[in-house]
Amino acid sequence: MTPTPLSRRNFLGLSAAVGLAGFAAACGGTSGPPGTQQQEGGGGTFTGTYDGPNVALAFWNGFTGGDGPYMKKLVDQFNKEHPNIKVTMTTIRWQDYYQKVPAAVQSGKGPDVGAAHQDNLATLAARRSIQPLDDLASELKLEENDFIPAVWQGGVYQGKRYGIPLDVHSLAQYWNSDQLSKGGLQKPPASKEEFDQAVSKIKSDAGVAQPFWMPSLWPAHLIFYSLIWQNGGAPYSEDGKTATFNSPEGVAALTWMVDQIKAGTSPRNVAIDTQYNAFKTGRNAGTFDGIWQINDLKTTAPKLKWQMAAVPQIFDKKAVWSNGHNFVLMNQPKPDDNKLQASKVFINYISEKSAEWANAGMIPARNSARQDPSFAKQPQAVVAADVDSFHFLPAVPGIGDVGFQGIEQAVAKATLLQQDPKTALDNSAGVANKLLEDNRKKFGG
C-alpha cells in the first residue's frame, strides 16, 4: 500500500524509536478527540479563490520517492501564485505517516491537508483523523463520470466522501530490454504462455539462469492480489467482512508464485528488495513492482535499459492490484474557516494539475487528464490503457493491518517454502477473520 520505492522499504527503522517516545504521551490520553464536533466542511461557499487574511497551511504526505520533488514543485508554484496562502509541505514515509497522523490529529497537532491512500481512507475516517468533504467535492464540481468508478467510490465511507482522488497507481512488470531482446523478444509478456516462453528463452539465449525473482515480502502480496483477481477470486468478500483469499482461486494464485521458485525461475529465499536490486544490476531479467518505481529506476539505475507493461495475464481475466492517492482534510480541534477555505483552494489547484502530477510516475485519476495526449508520452501510460482491470481493496477500516497480519504472512511463508500455499492461506484466513471481527467491534461497522 505504500507506493514509494526504496526509501520506505530500506530504512524501516527509527520510526519505532520515535514511536516509543510517543507511547508514553499517548498513554496519558487526551480526554476527547478533536473530531468529536465533526465539521461538515463548512467555511461558506467556495468561490475558487481565497481573499481572507494570510494563512499558513500544513500539508503532510508520504511522497518520499521519485514522486516527492514533483509534489514540492506544485506546492511551490501554488505558493507563488497565492501570496496570502503559505503551504508548508512535510514528507514522512507512508508507513510512519499512518502511525503519526492519527496520533497528531488526536493531540490537536495535525496538519490541515494531507494525502492518503484509497485503502487507508476508511481507517482514517473511522479513527476520525479526517473529515467528510462531500460539499467540497460538489463545490469543486468534481463529477463522478470524470473518474474511474472504483476510485470515485473508494473515497466513500459510510455514505460520506472523505477523499478527493488525485491519482491511481498499480502493479506493473519491468523487463531488462537487453536481456529481453537477447531472448528474441520485443516486448514484455502479456499472457501466461508468453511469460513461460520469455523466461525459458531468456534462460537459454540470454544466459540468465534465474530470470524472474519471486519476492517473499513487499510487493509479493500485491502480486498475489493481482493473481487472485485474475483467477476470478477476491481477497475479501464484497462487504469486506470475511477473508476469502484461501479460496481455491487464491490457492492456485499462490501456487503459481511458489511454482516459479520450485521450477528454478526464481532463487529461493528472496529477501526484502533483493529482486528489485538484482533487477537494477542486471542479475535478473524481469520483476513485478509498482509504477512508482519509474523515477527511481531513472535516477538510481540510469544505465539500465528497461521497458514496462501491464502485469501479464496469468489466469482467466485481466486484473491488477491498484490503489490511489487522495487529498484529505484533517479534523481540527478548533475549526478555522479561513484555513478551511484556503485548504479547499489548495486541493482544487493541485487536483487540476493532474497532468503535471503524472510526471511523478502516477496515473491521473481524472479521465480527462488520462485521455490527454500529453499523458500518452509517460512510460506508465501502457499500464493505464486498461483501467477496467484495476482492482482495489474494499473500503473497510483496518483492512491494511488485516492484510499485513493475514495475507502478507501467508505469502511470505509460502514463498519461503515453509508451508504449502493452502495451509499458509488457511491459517492466515483464520487470523484475518478474527481481526476483521475485532475491527468491526472496535470501529462499529
Binding site: 530500506n10 530504512f11 524501516l12 527503522g13 527509527l14 519505532a16 524509536a17 514511536g19 516509543l20 510517543g22 507511547f23 508514553a24 499517548a26 498513554c27 496519558g28 490520553g29 476527547g32 478527540p33 468529536t36 502511525q99 492519527p102 496520533a103 488526536q106 473511522a126 479513527r127 476520525r128 483523523s129 525473482w213 517473499s216 515480502l217 532463487p267 529461493r268 529465499n269 528472496v270 529477501a271 526484502i272 533483493t274 536490486n277 538484482a278 544490476t281 542479475r283 483496518g398 493491518d401 497480519q405 504472512q409 511470505a412 511463508k413 519461503l416 515453509q418 508451508q419 487470523v431 478474527k434 481481526l435 475485532d438 472496535k442 470501529f443
Partner: protein
C-alpha cells in the same frame, strides 16, 4: 532549602550539641526529618512523572480495550492478559512466538556478550604498541546507529546478492545459506551482528573494572606462585564481580529489548519467527493502536525481566564464608 538554612542559622555554627540532644540520633545535625526528602524531591518528581505515572497509567490501559484514536475504551478486566495466553485469540500465538524469539536471542547472545568482551578487555588492558587504535577499532561499531548497521549488514547477509555468501562460496563453503530468511541461520546472523555491534560497550566497562584492580594483588599472587590462569581466577574474576554482575544484568535487559536488528535486517522473517517481543509490542501498540494489549504485553515482559534480574543478583550475591 530554606528550612535547612534556617536551622543552621538558628543553631549557630559553634554549638550544635543541644540540637542533637534534644531530637535524638535520628535528626541530622543540619535539620529536621524532612531534609533528606527535600533533597530527594527533584529526582522524585522526575521519577514519579516518568517512571511511576507511566507504570500506573500503563496498568490502567492494559485493563481496557484501548485504541487512543477511538473515544470508546471499554473496560476489559484481565481480558488482554488472557488473550496473550489463549492460543485461539488473534494475539496469543504471535505473542508467545515473539517471547520465544526474545528468549532465544537472549539465551545465546548474553553468554557471548559477557565472555567475548571480557576477552577483548583483557587484551586491551595489556601493554603493547598500537593499543589505543585497537581499543578504538573494537569500540567503533557501537558508535553507529542501529539503522546504519542494519542496512550495512542486510547487504552483506543477503543470501542471493550479498557479500558473505559470495566469500563463503569462494573458499568452498556452502554459498546458499539464507541468512535473513530462514532459521536458525537468521539467529546466527542477528546474534553475530549484535555481538559485533555492542561488544565494544561491554569491553569498555570491563576495562574500567580491570583497571580498578590493584596491581599489588597481582604481585602478591605472583609471589604466592600463582600462574596466569590462577591469577585470572583468584584475582581478576573476584575483582570484577560487581562489574560482572552489572554487565550481565544490562546485557540481559538489552538483549531482551532487541528490536532494531530484527525489524531492519530480517523484518521478523521467516514468518515472524524472528519478531521479538518488543517488535511485536511496538507493532501492536503503535501500528495497530491497540494500546491495551500492547501494555499488557509490556507488563508480562517486564515481569519476566524482573524475575531474571532477581535470579542474576541471587547468583552473584556474596556467599558468606565461601569466597572469603
Amino acid at each position: 532549602m530554606s528550612t535547612v538554612d534556617a536551622e543552621i542559622l538558628s543553631t549557630g555554627a559553634g554549638d550544635l550539641r543541644p540540637v542533637e540532644r534534644k531530637a535524638g540520633r535520628r535528626v541530622s545535625r543540619y535539620g529536621g526529618r524532612w531534609v533528606p526528602y527535600v533533597f530527594l524531591l527533584p529526582y522524585l518528581a522526575l521519577f514519579a512523572t516518568f517512571v511511576l505515572a507511566p507504570i500506573v497509567i500503563g496498568l490502567w490501559v492494559s485493563l481496557h480495550v484501548w485504541d487512543f484514536t477511538i473515544p470508546r475504551k471499554p473496560w476489559n478486566g484481565l481480558g488482554n492478559y488472557k488473550d496473550l495466553f489463549d492460543s485461539q485469540s488473534v494475539v496469543g500465538p504471535d505473542f508467545i512466538r515473539s517471547m520465544k524469539a526474545t528468549g532465544i536471542f537472549t539465551l545465546f547472545s548474553v553468554p557471548l556478550l559477557v565472555v567475548v568482551p571480557l576477552a577483548v578487555a583483557l587484551l586491551m588492558n595489556a601493554k603493547f604498541k598500537g593499543r589505543n587504535l585497537f581499543r578504538a577499532v573494537y569500540f567503533a561499531p557501537y558508535v553507529l546507529g542501529v539503522a546504519v548497521i542494519a542496512v550495512l549488514w542486510r547487504y552483506i547477509l543477503d543470501n542471493n546478492i550479498g557479500l558473505l555468501n559470495r566469500y563463503l562460496g569462494a573458499i568452498g563453503l556452502p554459498d546458499d545459506i539464507a541468512w535473513t530468511t530462514s532459521t536458525p541461520a537468521a539467529w546466527f546472523a542477528l546474534i553475530g551482528v549484535t555481538v559485533w555491534w555492542t561488544l565494544g560497550f561491554n569491553a569498555v566497562i570491563y576495562l574500567a573494572g580491570l583497571q580498578d584492580i590493584p596491581a599489588e594483588l597481582y604481585e602478591a599472587a605472583k609471589i604466592d606462585g600463582a600462574g596466569r590462569w590462577q591469577q585470572f581466577r583468584n584475582v581478576t574474576l573476584p575483582g570484577l564481580r560487581p562489574v560482572l554482575m552489572f554487565v550481565v544484568i544490562i546485557t540481559i535487559i538489552a538483549s531482551a529489548n532487541m528490536f532494531g536488528q530484527s525489524y531492519l535486517i530480517t523484518q521478523g522473517q521467516p514468518g515472524n519467527e524472528t519478531r521479538t517481543a518488543i517488535y511485536y509490542i511496538a507493532e501492536t501498540g503503535l501500528k495497530n493502536f491497540d494500546m491495551g494489549r500492547a501494555a499488557a504485553m509490556s507488563f508480562i515482559l517486564t515481569l519476566c525481566l524482573l524475575v531474571l534480574s532477581g535470579l542474576v543478583m541471587l547468583a552473584f550475591r556474596e556467599r558468606k564464608g565461601a569466597s572469603r
